[in-house]
């Protein structure tokens, strides 16, 4: 009888210990995250407008294209510049020099985008004033059309300010993407 009583007390103490331990664990542990969903994340597409030169080399033409959604500014600008370098899928002519790529971008609180392009932008250019106008128009108007937060674009090359692309149109001041042709 005495033995049975001791067993009962031992069981009660054990049960109390287990309950206490579980309660304490629940209180100290953070809530479990919800069960992870299956891998259903898809890359969104974004409607963009790209500006290329017309075949007559006289003005710019637009091309609507779906490009993968990018979250950060650098990736979005780099994607647009890359699309311009690769050229149009329909009518028009690519005018950005081959090899041009984005090194850095910086957007200040006034909407001024500083765009640092690779040296190929300047070294790969071979043209006159009209060609410069088309290159700058293609680049700046594409950025303005797809990045509403960009109000002005300052172009630098290889981390250094440049006076112009090849001596014709000034780049010492920011350009207005919405300036009429």
């Amino acid at each position: 009888m005495k033995l049975a009583f001791r067993l009962l007390v031992l069981l009660a103490v054990l049960a109390l210990g287990v309950w206490g331990w579980r309660t304490l664990r629940e209180r100290l542990s953070p809530p479990l995250p919800p069960a992870a969903a299956a891998d259903t994340v898809q890359t969104g597409m974004r409607a963009t407008t790209l500006f290329f030169a017309d075949a007559g080399g006289d003005t710019l033409v637009t091309e609507a294209r779906e490009l993968p959604e990018k979250s950060d500014l650098h990736a979005r600008v780099a994607q647009l510049v890359d699309a311009l370098v690769r050229g149009p899928q329909h009518r028009g002519v690519a005018v950005l020099p081959a090899g041009t790529s984005v090194l850095h971008v910086y957007l200040d609180d006034q909407g001024r985008l500083t765009l640092d392009l690779s040296p190929s932008f300047q070294q790969g250019f071979h043209g006159g004033t009209q060609a410069e106008d088309l290159v700058l128009g293609s680049l700046v108007r594409t950025l303005g059309a797809n990045l509403p937060e960009v109000k002005r674009v300052r172009i630098v090359c290889g981390g250094q300010p440049i006076g112009s692309l090849a001596g014709h149109l000034p780049l010492d001041q920011p350009l207005d993407p919405h300036e009429a042709d």
Binding site: H126, G127, G128, Q130, D133, G163, A166, G167, H168, P170
Partner: protein, 452 residues
């Protein structure tokens, strides 16, 4: 055997010379009463190559992607593997075959749509570029305030305003002029004179407008084979014209010519020529032409092959107290069909919008050329008009402040005289008289500007 074959073919196998500037055409002669065109002219207009087979008396012309075989005294032409029947035989006169013009309507167009047509009156055959036939403008006055010019064209959407000054308002359209512009205009019309200038691929109509015209707009009617230009006395009913300076002659004592590029900076390179050499050679020729016409003293920013910084060029012009600065360049737009000249001057709207009541305007020295924007714009119009009139166009006036005018305290412009990446322009500029023709046209434009 080879020598015999060569003696049969080679001496007579020759590429046709490049067509002349303007709308290429050739005379029509009557041969045995049949209107005919000479085979040399026929091949030249189409940019073809001729081969004469004396043993069979056959002439082969390869042009517009086809092979055409003509046989003397036979009214048949073999076009590739097809037979075209003419209304009269091909004849030989003075060692040249004469081809009945009835062939023209049976010829296919080349891949660009270029083709030959018999002009009204039947005295000339002309090459019509891809744009087809254009105009002439039909002027009407639908109301007291509006004058309307209707221009027949299949490419209204490609119309370009090449200059927006009232004295030289110019519109370019692809194609060839179907006829001369009207000599007489309605007395109450807002247009005083119309001139047409043709280049190899388009027509520029230059309008001299009444001073009271305030706005213009281009309209493409539902019937799309037409472009309409509406001129209005009412401001704000369309685009505005470039501001104008006061009339009267302008003092012209010192002209500074600035040959672009130099030294390690060769500029545009095409066909074995460098822009830096062309600009210097043109500046030398232009010096004499301007001095002879205006009596002004002409100074060059560089007289040899050396590099000059933009600041040095501007300082030279300012120190010389220039009345006029012309920066000479040649353009290049790789990968496109760009051609012709462009003239880059400070935006004239700047001076037009200045407000004297706002007090002394503060302007960075960099932008000082904007003070002379209206005069610069007038100069651009005068030179562009002269280039077009000499068949050196199309010439387009663009309003952008170029690097060459930064810090220049004088009227001026950057003149891209031609587009070297265009084979036509390159051939024209490098022809023996190419630079001389340019110098004459530019000097005439400068003279017009000084007389205003």
């Amino acid at each position: 055997m080879l020598l015999v074959l060569l003696s049969t073919l080679a001496p007579l196998a020759r590429a046709a010379p490049p067509p002349p500037a303007g709308a290429p055409s050739a005379p029509v002669a009557r041969v045995d009463g049949v209107p005919s065109i000479g085979a040399d002219d026929f091949a030249r207009l189409l940019g073809g190559v001729q081969f004469w087979r004396s043993d069979t008396r056959k002439l082969v012309i390869r042009a517009i992607g086809h092979r055409m075989t003509f046989t003397v005294d036979v009214p048949i032409v073999i076009l590739d593997d097809r037979t075209l029947r003419l209304d009269a035989p091909v004849r030989s006169r003075g060692g040249e075959l004469q081809i009945p013009v009835s062939l023209l309507t049976q010829l296919p167009r080349d891949t660009t749509g270029m083709h030959l047509v018999l002009e009204a009156g039947g005295t000339r055959v002309r090459l019509v570029p891809a744009g087809g036939l254009v105009g002439p403008p039909v002027v009407s006055v639908p109301s007291a305030d509006v004058t309307r010019l209707a221009i027949a064209t299949a490419h209204a959407e490609e119309a370009r305003v090449m200059g927006r000054g009232r004295g030289h308002f110019r519109i370019w359209l692809p194609g060839a002029a179907a006829g001369p512009p009207p000599d007489s205009l309605p007395p109450n019309a807002l247009v005083r004179r119309i001139r047409a200038f043709e280049s190899s691929d388009g027509v520029t109509y230059e309008l001299q407008l009444a001073p009271e015209v305030q706005s213009y707009r281009l309209v493409t009617p539902a019937r799309r084979e037409q472009l309409a230009l509406e001129l209005s006395r009412v401001p704000g009913e369309g685009e505005s014209f470039a501001p104008e300076g006061p009339p009267g002659p302008r003092a012209l004592h010192v002209v500074v010519l600035d040959p672009g590029h130099g030294g390690a900076d060769a500029g545009v390179q095409a066909g074995g020529v460098s822009e830096k050499d062309l600009t210097l050679a043109l500046a030398r020729q232009l010096t004499g032409e301007i001095e002879a016409r205006t009596g002004a003293r002409v100074l060059l920013t560089r007289t040899d092959d050396r590099a000059l910084a933009p600041d040095d060029r501007a300082e030279f012009a300012n120190r010389s107290r220039a009345d006029l600065v012309i920066a000479l360049h040649f353009d290049g737009v790789p990968g496109t069909r760009a051609r012709g000249a462009s003239l880059w001057c400070p935006p004239a709207s700047y001076a037009g919008e200045s407000d004297a009541s706002a007090g002394l305007p503060l302007m960075p020295w960099r932008d000082v050329a904007l003070r002379h924007a209206v005069e610069s714009r007038d100069l651009a119009d005068d030179i562009a008009s002269a280039l077009d009139a000499h068949g050196l166009g199309p010439a387009r006036v663009r309003e952008r402040l170029p690097v060459a005018l930064l810090g220049v305290n004088a009227p001026g412009l950057v003149l891209e005289c031609a587009t070297l990446t265009s084979p036509d322009d390159l051939a024209r500029v490098t022809a023996p008289d190419g630079l001389h023709d340019l110098a004459v046209a530019i000097a005439e434009g400068v003279l017009d500007w000084s007389r205003h």
